[in-house]
């Protein structure tokens, strides 16, 4: 019977094409608006490293001013001091650990034909590449020993390697960065985690960096640091004083395999802070935190409140569109009252008729869903052009979103079809047959 219902629905849609088109447009508009905002929210809140996001923890310690708490005391500072990062790194208490900060510099290409290039960079430790599953085309990240020995090594991203070496394997070659010679140890493939979870503080949706150098290069002043810096008391004069100041500008990630590892590491952090209190630091009550990737994204409100508000509004718009569809379906189905009465006379039960007309609603909903996908695609292009780089890579409809759009359209149309179909199925056949 299903094929028969589909056939009847198809005939009915074609026969009443004007009314059907109106309904398809109403559902399409609602789905289009909803899917545009759902997609943006979905991609903003997607797990960027699902297979190990529960093993990667961002470390927070409350080293802030006792008289003027960070974030009004709701959260500890979102970054660490260089002193704390260095101490935690040296302790090597986690399975893996990564100290990092944003950096930048200028590369002087070996080819005299090429102009100097300003590049975004990241100063990090060796574990960064394994912790965050960074894919390599050539070579690999540097070793722990390279970190310890403060070797001047560098990893390029694919775009930078393409520019400097025409995409060739550049491992083993050297480049000059901010006047210092660095040896290339690896070239990473396309890698743009969205959100860029490993450093939310400098923009959750920014592109990943052009180059990566050892964290020690900042202290050695072989590369300039950048990113957010917050201080609650003067940092003193000179770079050496800044490094030992209470200014926060570094981030620290650890990889912990089990819940027990996490508890042990938290115990270690508490012991560390107790120790530091003895030196007159950490005057605020202890508030050390380990947040896994999704907890950290949530804590940092990566999905902005206005994006959530937009999504809520688009759902309300979808409801308005569906209410219109209910009215149109009601008009269509009640207009078919004589046919419904006749079908009852010929042996159709109410349940049979309900199935037939709900399938017709679903067909209209599917067509509306397809239109909604096109509108959502256009909507996302609009969002991307409106917000520029911030939204780049976020405004794409993947297969999950496409399926969701069709399922949403299907459910919406079936829900809107229930009342009109119920009304139609409760028509008294005798009256309709006489009135023909």
């Amino acid at each position: 019977m299903f094929n028969y219902y589909l056939k009847i629905a198809w005939i009915s849609i074609l026969r009443h094409w004007g009314l059907s088109l109106l309904m398809i447009c109403a559902i399409g508009l609602g789905i289009g608006a909803a899917m545009t905002t759902i997609t943006v929210n979905y991609l903003m809140s997607a797990d960027p490293i699902p297979h190990k996001s529960k093993q990667l923890y961002y470390v927070q310690l409350d080293s802030w001013d006792v008289n003027d708490p960070f974030d009004e005391g709701l959260n500890p500072p979102d970054q660490l001091t260089f002193t704390d990062t260095t101490n935690l790194l040296n302790a090597q208490k986690a399975f893996r650990q990564n100290a990092q900060a944003q950096a930048n510099g200028v590369i002087e290409p070996n080819d005299p034909e090429l102009l100097p290039m300003s590049v975004s960079g990241r100063a990090n430790t060796a574990d960064f590449f394994t912790m965050f599953d960074v894919p390599f085309i050539y070579g690999s990240g540097w070793t722990h020993q390279a970190d310890v020995n403060k070797e001047q090594v560098i990893v390029l991203n694919k775009v930078t390697n393409d520019k400097l070496f025409g995409g060739e394997d550049s491992v083993g070659q050297t480049i000059k960065l901010d006047g210092n010679v660095f040896k290339i140890v690896g070239v990473i493939d396309q890698w743009q985690p969205k959100p860029r979870f490993y450093d939310i503080t400098t923009g959750a949706f920014n592109d990943s960096e052009d180059i990566f150098v050892p964290f020690s290069m900042i202290a050695e002043q072989k590369i300039g640091r950048s990113g957010n810096t917050n201080c609650w008391k003067p940092s003193g004069d000179g770079f050496s004083a800044f490094l030992v100041s209470e200014c926060i500008w570094t981030q620290f990630w650890v990889e912990l395999k089990t819940q027990q590892d996490k508890e042990e590491y938290l115990t270690f952090l508490n012991a560390y802070v107790e120790e530091q209190k003895a030196y007159g630091r950490f005057l605020r009550p202890m508030d050390n935190r380990l947040s896994n990737v999704m907890q950290w994204l949530e804590n940092q409100e990566v999905v902005a409140d206005d994006a959530k508000m937009m999504m809520a509004m688009s759902f309300m718009f979808l409801i308005v569109c569906l209410l219109n569809t209910v009215g149109l379906l009601l008009a269509k189905f009640l207009g078919k009252a004589p046919e419904i009465g006749l079908r009852q006379a010929l042996g159709a039960s109410r349940a049979t008729l309900f199935s037939q007309y709900i399938i017709e609603s679903a067909c209209i909903g599917l067509a509306g869903g397809l239109l909604g996908l096109v509108l959502a695609y256009l909507g996302l292009i609009g969002v991307e052009s409106l917000y520029g780089d911030y939204m780049q890579g976020l405004a794409t409809l993947d297969s999950t979103m496409m399926i969701l759009a069709l399922v949403l359209a299907l459910i919406s149309s079936i829900v809107s079809g229930i009342y009109p179909t119920w009304r139609a199925c409760n028509i008294q056949p005798a009256q309709q047959l006489k009135s023909q």
């Binding site: 019977m1 046919e339 009852q344 159709a348 047959l433 006489k434 023909q436």
Partner: protein, 230 residues
Amino acid sequence: MLVMKNVNKIFQTADIQTHALRDFSLTVNEGDFLSVTGPSGSGKTTFLNIAGLLETYTNGDFLLDGEDVGKLNDKGRSRMRNEKIGFIFQGFNLIPDLNLYDNVDVPLRYRGFNAKERKRRIIENLDRVGLASRLKHLPSQLSGGQQQRVAIARALATDPRFLLADEPTGNLDSEMAQGVMSLLEEINQQGTTIIMVTHDATLAKRARRQVQVKDGRVSELDLVNHRAIA
């Protein structure tokens, strides 16, 4: 066999109570050709709707082929309509969006026949009414008489025991009406019980048995005397 015993039908609105059928008792035997006459508003169509399970009755007993109709739910009534009853209406009641083949196909679909059996029955019955060559035509492409023939083919396609006809020639000219009546007589001779509501006394007399409905009550007409008087 159709048996109604003291069947009442009361239509109730906010202010008015209308007795459409009053203690209506009638037995229609296998193979009967029964015509039902009566003035407008007498309850003829109400009787036919109840007989066709298109309407419920207020009280009384109604057995169709021995089955108590009052105890059936919507599904049971639908099944019985599909299996035992064929309808012919004054307005033909073909579905305008469907061609002749698909119109006759409707009750067969609800019966659950396979495609081969449905095709056989559709062609056989359209052939019986002389329209097998116009399978793909829409109802709007046919004359009134032809449309009524399609409706008859549709009614016969499920091999019903009862054929209920409500003014089957009411919208036809006399020549077409004669043709449809001849077809109904032929169908009756082949064993199908026919109950026909009509205003037309001449057509009513062609039935083997006549009843009259007046003020919701039924009375049997003596066919021999009636014919003699006429």
